[in-house]
């Protein structure tokens, strides 16, 4: 069976070393790399050069969609389809519409944020080639794991391994599948 290289992994124990490594990997021109940490590390996204997410726009879009939905729902049900006089109030007024508009805006914003996050993270994901690596599993415990993916344009097994070793990673290894 032919094996394809998937990624080069390296483990770090020291967060300062990890920060330098993230900077150096970014400066070397790698784009398709990721770092797995057991807890959020401040400043790591900056060191990795992670671009700002588009999630806020998805959330805002969801909110606007919810708002328009609420307005049309209240207007159509109350003033068009089934006119009902309640306490002499107008059939449609923004005054009594606002609680519904507010709730639906919040609801759709929350749903859009949740689903948008799943979409952007590529979830649900049932299998990852990295998941069987024993060293990778320690990323949920006490180790920072750096992965440089083979899909990166600058990837070459030898050079990437060398870079990772130079940057002080333990247990530099190639994942194949």
């Amino acid at each position: 069976m032919n094996t394809q290289p998937i990624a080069v992994l390296g483990n770090y124990k020291d967060p300062n070393l990890l920060m330098t490594a993230a900077n150096r990997i970014r400066e070397s021109g790698y784009k398709d790399f990721d770092i797995y940490t057991p807890y959020p590390v401040h400043g790591l996204d900056k060191a990795m050069g992670v671009k700002r997410t588009i999630l806020p726009y998805i959330a805002f879009g969801g909110g606007i969609f919810g708002l328009l939905n609420a307005i049309s729902l209240i207007w159509w049900t109350g003033a068009v389809h089934y006119k009902l006089n309640i306490g002499g109030k107008p059939l449609f007024a923004f005054q009594f519409g606002i609680p519904v508009m507010f709730e639906l805006t919040i609801l759709l914003t929350a749903i859009a944020t949740f689903l948008g996050l799943w979409f952007l993270c590529g979830l649900p994901k049932w299998y990852s080639p990295l998941q069987n690596d024993e060293g990778f599993k320690s990323a949920v415990d006490n180790t920072f794991v750096v992965s440089i993916m083979a899909t990166d344009q600058r990837f070459s097994i030898e050079a990437t391994k060398k870079l990772m070793t130079e940057l002080g990673a333990d247990d530099v290894r190639l994942i194949q599948e």
């Binding site: 400043g43 005054q95 609680p99």
Partner: protein, 391 residues
């Protein structure tokens, strides 16, 4: 860390120039209004608006300082002194209250009708001139006491060898916040809600607080921007602090809207004449321009303006947002007070010059505070946390 003294810097002289200019223009405008209009009620109403505007900011700035102690906030330590300098206006509030008490008959019509009007005479145990005067004096006294304690200890910490002044503040901050809540609520009942003695709204105090808090944060933001651009806050205030104050402004803009709508919504739905009269007066005769305009000035525009994350780090936008919110608070106060005295829309130079007059007085006293106090609470246990802030 070396303390930063502003005495003799261009910032102080600029502030004093602005203050004196505003006082002169404001006093001239007030004099013209006094001479040209034989009925001085409107002038008194404008005085009330201007006074409440800056009294509210000063007292709320004191509350802001107490709040930072209460929650042991780290981010705000390097900007807290700005709020504490605003609170320097608090000792002078008693002077501003005197004309309100003397001309209560012109401002508050319950003063004359307490015997003849059955509704108001039912409220006589609260709405009588003796108790009214006692309450006004009590607010000023309590505010002064809280100011001396909180701000005094905060300043003492600058030269103290241990952290005992901060510990004193940490202990007192909680009861002071409660005391502030009561005083600001009842002060809003006395000074604003009793302009319409038939009407009542239990949420009015919260509404007043929300408006004040937004205005205070906006003014802090404006001072921060000016000090930051002048280079006085180097190494102490970074864009992270602007981000945090921006989040605060944004959140409390929404809070104000929430409270304002809660008040309006229940009254609109209940539709009881004694409650709706407040909005009936304020949503016709041209006043609807202020009422509906507030939705844009105080909510929609600042909301969209401050929504994005990166905007809170762009100083020109923050400056514009803060100025807009300060204007919105002024419009809001005018909308509460002026319809009592005129069925149709009145808004002229008198309102603006009365505001300018108080703006000048406030700025002059604040400039003095800036000149005499350290700009940064250098000895505060949280100052290091504040400098290293990442929001």
């Amino acid at each position: 860390m070396t303390p930063i003294q502003l005495q003799g810097t261009p910032f102080i002289s600029k502030l004093q120039k602005v203050a004196l200019g505003a006082i002169v223009v404001g006093a001239l405008g007030l004099a013209v209004a006094f001479a040209t209009d034989s009925d001085h009620t409107r002038l008194l109403a404008d005085y009330l608006i201007g006074f409440i505007y800056f009294a509210g900011i000063a007292v709320t700035a004191m509350f802001f300082s107490a709040l930072q102690f209460l929650v042991k906030a780290g981010w705000s330590t390097s900007v807290r002194r700005i709020a504490e300098n605003f609170a320097g206006f608090v000792p002078y509030l008693i002077i501003g209250m005197i004309p309100i008490y003397l001309f209560k008959g012109e401002l508050f019509h319950w003063v004359h009708e307490v015997a003849s009007d059955p509704i108001i005479s039912g409220k006589a145990p609260f709405l009588n001139t003796t108790f009214f005067g006692i309450r006004l004096a009590l607010y000023c006294g309590l505010w002064y006491y809280m100011y001396r304690f909180i701000v005094g200890n905060s300043k003492k910490q600058d030269t103290a060898t241990d952290y005992s002044p901060t510990y004193k503040n940490l202990k007192r901050a909680a009861p002071f916040v409660v005391l502030y809540a009561f005083t600001i609520t009842f002060a809003s009942f006395d000074l604003l809600m009793s302009l319409e003695p038939h009407w009542y709204s239990t949420i009015f105090g919260v509404y007043f607080f929300a408006g004040n808090f937004v205005a205070t944060l906006s003014l802090i933001c404006i001072y921060m921007i000016n000090l930051y651009k002048g280079g006085y806050l180097k190494n102490y205030v970074t864009l992270e602090h602007f981000h945090d104050i921006g989040k605060f402004m944004f959140a409390f803009t929404i809070f104000w809207t929430y409270i304002a709508f809660s008040q309006y919504f229940l009254i609109w739905y209940g539709n009881i004449p004694e409650e709706t009269i407040y909005y009936v007066k304020r949503l016709q005769g041209g006043w609807e321009l202020f009422g509906w305009g507030s939705i844009f000035l105080h909510f929609i525009v600042p909301f969209l303006m401050l929504l994005r994350q990166d905007v809170k780090r762009r100083l020109p936008v923050m400056m514009a947002g803060a100025c807009l919110l300060l204007l919105a608070h002024f419009i809001d106060l005018c909308w509460i007070v002026l319809p009592v005295f005129s069925k149709t829309l009145i808004f002229g130079y008198q309102e603006i010059t009365a505001w300018l007059f108080f703006f000048g007085l406030f700025t002059y006293i604040v400039a003095k505070q800036f000149a005499s106090n350290n700009l940064i609470p250098v000895n505060d246990p949280y100052i290091k946390e504040s400098i290293e802030l990442v929001s």
